[in-house]
């Protein structure tokens, strides 16, 4: 259903004013040589874990597939009864089959997560060691809601997905930018300190962000 | 190394706190400098400039350039006035026939503590001031002239002086020129906050390089009935022969602005 008026509005008027304004040059500060903004990250896994701890993100290391399964089962067991929402991929289909233990599962191929989901499970586009962040996308990780709707978001990943810093992680985001309508960097749990500057973990987004990381 | 110093004594220092200038003179003489004082100097134009009246400030700035044209080394006991000449004259006089002289002038004018440490290369001027002193960083001095270490360096070498830490020493005292009387409620609150930090520091004196900050802080502290007194860096460095000793008991409104160093009754 199209809008009654053409959608562009005062485009030519505004651009005209902008071009006219830019005919006069503004002063510029002299350039100053700048190196990298952050010191290089040495041990990616160690740094990721250290940063994650400061973000209230739980990182569970697993040395093999069995370890991943065990970790996921443990997290799911700690949740109250109810549906979970899982990204529909062969790996997660298998994992859910091994760990859901009768809990109802809604798949991303069915649509958006239900508001009452107890947890969501997804893959990710990458991990950032410098900041303890998780890179996700709508196309690659089961949609938009999967990383924000439920009180617990579980990410299944492996050490090969570690990026050292923001330059490399954002470069990856640039690569996938036109294949996804949402790309995001998630750095820890939802939080607020609006009331008296007291930090509360878990505002509107997940209160728990669990990263299950297979090291081999 | 210059042998002759030309004195730039700001208008309100000349009229309202001349002892600060006298104390600066005492120190410079002690160090062996010849002094010149161009009596034609009046005002650098800062009040008009800050108020936005650049057309009124401009002729004063041009006059200043002419008055100090032949001075090789100019020293001033005020950070804000030094800032006006070094940092703002280029913009104010950008269309003036004198604009070619302004950059060079800026390099020849120095704030007092800057001159002592960076030009004269002196940190110990032979002063004695056995009191606890907190140092306040005046805004223009700190942020436009980047002078932070020099006053502290000088204070550390004063015999008997204990330099105490002042919480948020770089927070504005609230004077700000016309701001002090145009927005007295805000200026007063900022001064009250500063006075609170000063009192909490446990100092006997709060020192600064800007007489304008000191006038404002002194007014606030006296109104609060505080024990702490304000003092200009020059008066500490001139001690024990500071002009302040002459002012104790001088007739005038309220109490003396600056207590005599060594005046036990002031503690």
């Amino acid at each position: 259903m199209a809008l009654a008026k053409p959608s562009q509005g005062a485009r030519e008027e505004i651009l005209g004013r902008v071009r006219q304004a830019l005919k006069s040059p503004a002063p510029k500060r002299p350039p100053v040589p700048t190196g990298p903004l952050f010191a290089p990250v040495e041990n990616l896994l160690e740094r990721f874990q250290r940063e994650a701890a400061t973000n209230y993100m739980e990182v569970k290391l697993a040395s093999d597939g069995a370890g991943v399964t065990a970790a996921l089962r443990e997290v799911l067991a700690s949740l109250t009864e109810g549906e979970i929402f899982v990204q529909d991929t062969p790996q997660l289909r298998q994992l859910a089959a091994d760990t859901a233990d009768g809990r109802p599962v809604r798949w991303s191929s069915e649509g958006a997560p239900a508001e009452s989901s107890r947890a969501t499970v997804s893959l990710c586009e990458g991990l950032v060691a410098l900041t303890g962040s998780v890179l996700v996308s709508s196309g690659g990780c089961g949609g938009r809601g999967i990383s924000v709707v439920a009180p617990c978001h579980i990410v299944v990943t492996h050490a090969g997905q570690l990026f050292p810093d923001l330059e490399s992680a954002v470069a990856r985001a640039r690569e996938i930018a036109f294949d996804n309508s949402y790309v995001g960097l998630i750095t820890g749990c939802s939080r607020t300190s609006d009331i008296e500057k007291k930090l509360i973990i878990g505002a509107h987004g997940p209160q728990r962000l669990v990263v299950i990381l297979q090291t081999n | 190394m210059p042998q002759t110093i030309t004195l730039f004594i700001p208008c309100f220092v000349d009229q309202f706190v001349p002892e600060v200038a006298a104390d600066m003179v005492t120190v410079l003489r002690r160090l062996g400098y010849e002094l010149r004082y161009p009596e034609e100097q009046t005002c650098c134009g800062q009040p008009a400039f800050n108020a936005g009246f650049w057309d009124e400030a401009r002729p004063l700035a041009e006059r200043f350039v002419r008055v100090f044209r032949l001075a090789e080394t100019i020293v001033c006991p005020s950070g804000s006035c030094t800032t006006m000449v070094r940092c703002f004259y280029p913009e104010l006089l950008s269309s003036s026939p004198l604009r070619g002289e302004v950059a060079a002038l800026g390099k020849r004018v120095f704030e007092f503590s800057e001159f002592l440490v960076d030009v004269a290369k002196v940190s110990d001027v032979g002063a004695t001031f056995p009191h606890k002193v907190a140092y306040h960083d005046s805004c223009h001095l700190l942020r436009e002239l980047n002078i932070r270490q020099q006053p502290r360096e000088l204070l550390r070498h004063v015999k008997g002086l204990e330099l105490v830490e002042l919480n948020r020493s770089d927070e504005c005292c609230g004077f700000g020129g016309m701001f002090a009387v145009k927005f007295p409620e805000i200026s007063g609150a900022m001064g009250d906050v500063k006075a609170g930090h000063v009192e909490a520091s446990g100092a006997d004196f709060v020192a600064a390089c800007d007489p304008s900050c000191l006038l404002h802080m002194e007014g606030i502290l006296r109104r609060k009935g505080a024990r702490v007194r304000t003092i200009h860096l020059a008066s500490i460095l001139a001690s024990p022969a500071a002009a302040t000793t002459d002012r104790a008991g001088q007739a005038g409104t309220a109490q003396p602005a600056m207590a005599a160093p060594g005046d036990e009754g002031g503690r």
């Binding site: 505004i14 190196g35 | 009046t42 602005a257």
Partner: protein, 464 residues
């Protein structure tokens, strides 16, 4: 006679400045912020280099604004989104009002957007019978209190927990299960989840518009921005035209910088990029995506080459926290959408110098704002330029002009200067307690009036 803006400003400033409880609350918030920022800055190998880089990216973007806006628009359209160029507040409001009417929108959830405050969007939507719910916790609280946000990043810096308890017990009593900070946050979460999942439209602002990918960047900690842009079927973005930056890669610099100067964090919890509505292959997300680019005076500021860099602002709020004036008078006293140093500089350009020049004078020009600005805007110098512009363009009262001229005349000659000094001192001695001196004496004692000037001391004995 109703008070002018300036008179009202004085009244509110006095009220807040003398309120010691308010001073204590704000001090506490700022001390917390300062400590966090100090930690945040230490994470950078070279924080000053980061500021320079941010400056350079913004300079490039703003000084080639037409090129980058066109590139941004082309990419948004390519991705199935709509772009609307709004010359002013009214056009921006009308676009979304018509869109809402055409799509049968009854409920809207909003993530924080200063631009939507600037155009007075909420009242216009409500007038059309649409329920608008602010979802950022602080914005939600001030919305319930029917007051504007206190600060652009921390909207309820001025409130205590006791005040929030009272508010929630009145407005959302069924959601409140306790008095602690955790319970209050949980109560808001419950109330707002109902809003998220029943809304027809989500409205957000944008911290950055990314030209090379046609994406918008939003940063939040709470996740409300994520929910506003994931759950409702329509997503509308409001952004000033100056928000565009050239490349996605630039965010590797801006994301940590904004997080550090905004809240002292390394990164905010959610650094989000949205490029259009859901794609055909995706399982959820809005079906429609609209970006409203707002001019509303920005192109005029762009033409002011002296102050063009004011458009570099990334709305981090650092200058507010750094400002000793703001710390004493608080955010509401400014009575503008943008308070603090950036607000004082910017508002005359957006809304008129005559009415808002007083904000440029309500500063001691301490320059602390300049030192904390992540994009190196020379805020205090722009305040000086606003003052000069005010004198030149908005004629000051004749008394002031005459006074300045007289002052200059007496300063132009050493003899007149000495005479003026003698006269001034005599008057002070005689009328020290006079009402005319009240601006000084209300809060401060007068200094003693010296007998001699330095000039006289010099003449008499070389000032020995």
């Amino acid at each position: 006679m109703t008070a002018t803006r300036e008179q009202e400003f004085h009244r509110q400033a006095r009220d807040k400045a003398e309120n010691l409880a308010h001073r204590k609350t704000v001090r506490w918030a700022i001390d917390t912020y300062d400590a966090a920022v100090a930690r945040g800055k230490s994470r950078f190998a070279d924080f000053e280099a980061a500021r320079q880089r941010c400056y350079e990216i913004k300079w490039e973007a703003v000084n080639h604004l037409d090129r980058y806006l066109e590139e941004f628009e082309a990419n948004v359209l390519k991705r199935g989104g709509h772009v609307y160029w709004a010359a002013d507040s009214e056009q921006a409001r009308n676009y979304v009002l018509e869109l809402a009417a055409a799509r049968g929108v009854k409920r809207i959830v909003k993530a924080k957007s200063m631009v939507t405050e600037e155009i007075y969007l909420n009242p216009a939507l409500e007038k059309q019978g649409i329920e608008v719910r602010e979802t950022d916790l602080g914005e939600y609280i001030v919305q319930l209190r029917h007051e504007p946000p206190y600060h652009i990043v921390t909207p309820v810096m001025h409130l205590s927990r006791a005040q929030v308890i009272e508010l929630f017990r009145e407005k959302i009593p069924d959601d409140v299960k306790g008095d602690s900070h955790e319970e209050l946050t949980a109560a808001a979460r419950r109330a707002l989840r109902r809003a998220f999942f029943s809304a027809d439209m989500g409205i957000s602002g944008a911290n950055f518009l990314i030209a090379d990918t046609g994406m918008i960047a939003i940063t939040t900690n709470e996740g409300n921005g994520r929910l506003c842009t994931s759950v409702p079927r329509i997503h509308v973005v409001f952004a000033g035209i100056e928000k565009v930056i050239p490349r996605l890669q630039d965010l590797a610099t801006f994301w940590p910088m904004l997080a550090t100067t905004g809240t002292g964090q390394h990164l905010t919890a959610y650094s989000t990029l949205i490029g259009g509505p859901r794609m055909a292959s995706e399982n959820d997300g809005p079906e429609e995506f609209h970006v409203i680019l707002l001019d509303n005076g920005r192109s005029k500021l762009l033409a002011d080459t002296e102050q063009r860099e004011v458009l570099h602002c990334i709305r981090c709020g650092a200058c507010l926290n750094a400002c000793p004036v703001y710390r004493n008078i608080g955010g509401h006293t400014y009575n503008t959408v943008y308070p603090g140093p950036i607000g004082s500089v910017l508002t005359p350009h957006l809304r008129g110098l005559a009415e808002f020049q007083h904000l440029s004078y309500a500063s001691s020009l301490c320059g602390n704002c300049n030192t904390v600005c992540p994009v190196k805007i020379d805020l205090s110098h722009h305040l000086l330029q606003n003052r000069r512009n005010a004198v030149e363009q908005v004629r000051p009262p004749w008394r002031l002009r005459l006074g300045m001229r007289l002052w200059r005349w007496s300063m132009m000659d050493a003899g007149r200067f000495r005479l003026a000094g003698r006269v001034g001192k005599a008057l002070l001695r005689a009328f020290g307690g006079a009402a005319a001196l009240k601006p000084w004496t209300e809060y401060r004692d007068l200094p003693p009036v010296p007998e001699k000037s330095f000039r006289q001391m010099w003449r008499q004995n070389g000032a020995r």
